[in-house]
Structures are given as structure tokens and as C-alpha cells.
Amino acid sequence: MNENRRSFLKKAAGAALGIGCGLPIRVDASTTQLAMVVNKKKCLRQEVRQACTQACRRAHNLPDLSDSAHEVKWIWTEEYQNVFPDQTHSHDAQATKEEPVLVMCNHCTNPPCVKVCPTQATWRREDGLVMMDMHRCIGCRYCMVACPYGSRSFNWQDPRPHIPKDENGRLPSDYPTRDKGVVEKCNFCAERLRDGLQPACVEAANKVPGGEGALTFGNLADPNSEVSRILKKEHTIIRRPSLGAGPNVYYIV
């Protein structure tokens, strides 16, 4: 045994360095993180909220189902106290608690729905968009259980007969309808982004007088984008930050 302390430490340091080099180092190389900023005050007007939800319903051929257990929602209105349960307290004014807030899929940075999906029918794209592949969905609804925001809807029935049609029986959009037995949610209008357009709700809100800027969509990884500029300037909150899902829908309250 001719190992002295010095040579042992040298070898140990070398080994540690070697192991360290082999470890996967997590670097977020993505240059895109799509995000939405919702200006709650501008969305207090019903016309603004309705324009957004209706534009979405038409763009994605959503069915009108009166039964709340069966309804399919991509963007809709909830009360402030239910959207931000950890931001309200017992002395909040009733009017504040009941203020309407637009909600949608948060396209989380650390999405719990993606973790539980057994078929990778839902996954986080490199641009930060949490996407659904309807071809792969087996309708197990684990994602609906995992999502802490209730952003996902299940098709309990064939939605096509319930989609509002024009007088010739035609659907409002060429976006594929869904089949019975799949889960769906807001996709940040991935099909419109491919064509270089803004999401349908953002475009609709901007067309309503006074609704300009109610919704802002953009790339959070770009410091010069409109969303980054707003987040630097305004006080914004996210839904249930303590859960650690990392929502990418921000609210100016």
C-alpha cells in the first residue's frame, strides 16, 4: 500500500470531474416560450369576453352542450375567487370575489398532464406549447385528473351534431372536429400560429372597441416581445404558483 493522502485526493478529484462531465447538464436551449397575458380589467366587459370565447368556439368547431357535465371548453369565464383561490381572503369584497376572469389552458412549463399521459398524446413542444394529438388520445382522462386548473374537457358524446351550423348545415371552420372519447383543450391556436396568425381569441379581443390589448400573446423568451415588455412593466400573477406547474398565462389584476 503506497497510496498517500495526496495521490488519493488527486485521483478522487479526477474521478469526480470525470463523473461530472458525463452527467446530463440541463440547459434550457429553447429560444421560444409562448405565453399569454390577460388584462383582467379589460376583460371585465362582457362583449370582450364573449368575443374571445365565441371566436374560439367558431375557430375550433366546439359543440354547444347545455349539460355542464358534458360541455367542452377551451377558453371561458370563471369567478375570481375560483381562479385565484390562494389570492382571495375572507374580507375581500363580494364583488371582487365574483369578478369574471377569462381562463384557458396555462401551457405550463412543467405540465402535470404531460407527466401522466400514457400514450404521449399530450406533450410539451419546444416552443412551450402544450399540445394534444387527437390521433393518439385513448380517452383515459388521467390528464384531466392531473390538471390543477380544470382546463381539459372530455368528449362524452360525438360533438358533431351539437356544433352550431349555418342554414346549409355547414360547420363554421375547417378545423377537424373531435370524436367521442377524446380529451381536448386550448392549443394556443397552433394551427393559426403555423400560418403566422395570432390566436383567435387575441385577434377577436383586439377587434372589440376598448378590448385592444385585453389579451396579448407572444414569445416570453424574447426580451423585446410585447409579452416580455408587459411582464417587466406591470404587476402580474399566475394561477396557483405554489403547485409548481409554471403556468404561462399571466394576469394583470
Binding site: R125, D127, M134, R170, L171, S173, D174, R178, D179
Partner: protein, 129 residues
């Protein structure tokens, strides 16, 4: 060994019944391939027509994965032309009618793809194709 005749007759009946599909079709011509509606617009398909009739399902699956998973939309065909990867926008812009094109051949070959449970035939089902 008294049952030899019974067994032979039974076997003969069995063989005749089992081979019924073969000998009943013997001599008759195979059913004529369906008459598919030729596209009005467009002079050529994204790939050779013959290759398409054999491989369109693989091509559509590849398009589906590329569009949904990678977010791309342009397809470069073998001859270098660019097309948007879309069943309802690209394919259906020439093959205008699903019923007289897709369905006729799928009925003939007795396959039942589920494309049309979700995807729409723009000329028939959509307000603004």
C-alpha cells in the same frame, strides 16, 4: 371399421364447405375496380398517382406526425414541388369529393379508416373552405 363410409362422406362435405369461397368464385371475373372521380383541378398529385394509391396512408401518417409534432407545414415532394401538409386543404382541393373518391375505393377494398370522423370535407361541410 363399419363407419368408414360415414367418415368419408362427412370429410367430403367438410372439404366442399370449407373450399366453397374458392370454387364458387372459380371462372367468374374479379369485381371491376371502382370508378374514382378524377380531380377537376390540378394536373398531378403530390407524388406519382400509382405510388399514391399504394402508399397514401403512410404519407398521411407522416404528414400528421410532422405537422402536429414538429409544427411544420411544408412538404417537399420527390420532384421538388412544395405542398402544404393538409388532408382537407391540399388533398381535398383537387379530390373535391370524399364520397366519390376516398369512399369508393375504401368500400371496394373493405377498409374503414376513421379519418372522416373528425376531418372535414371542406366542399361539403364547411362554411368558408
Amino acid at each position: 371399421m363399419n363407419d368408414r363410409i360415414k367418415i368419408a362422406v362427412g370429410l367430403a362435405i367438410f372439404v366442399v364447405l370449407v373450399t366453397f369461397p374458392i370454387w364458387s368464385a372459380f371462372g367468374s371475373a374479379p369485381p371491376a375496380p371502382p370508378d374514382l372521380a378524377k380531380p377537376v383541378k390540378g394536373s398531378q398529385c403530390v407524388e406519382e398517382a400509382e405510388w399514391m394509391s399504394a402508399n397514401h396512408q403512410q404519407l398521411l401518417n407522416q404528414w400528421r406526425d410532422t405537422v402536429i409534432r414538429e409544427g411544420k407545414k411544408e412538404y417537399t415532394s420527390t420532384d421538388g414541388a412544395q405542398y402544404e401538409m393538409s388532408l382537407s386543404k391540399t388533398c381535398m382541393s383537387c379530390h373535391e369529393n370524399q364520397q366519390t373518391f376516398c369512399d369508393r375505393c375504401h368500400d371496394y377494398t373493405d377498409v374503414h379508416p376513421t379519418c372522416w370522423k373528425c376531418h372535414l370535407d371542406p366542399s361539403r361541410e364547411v362554411t368558408e373552405p
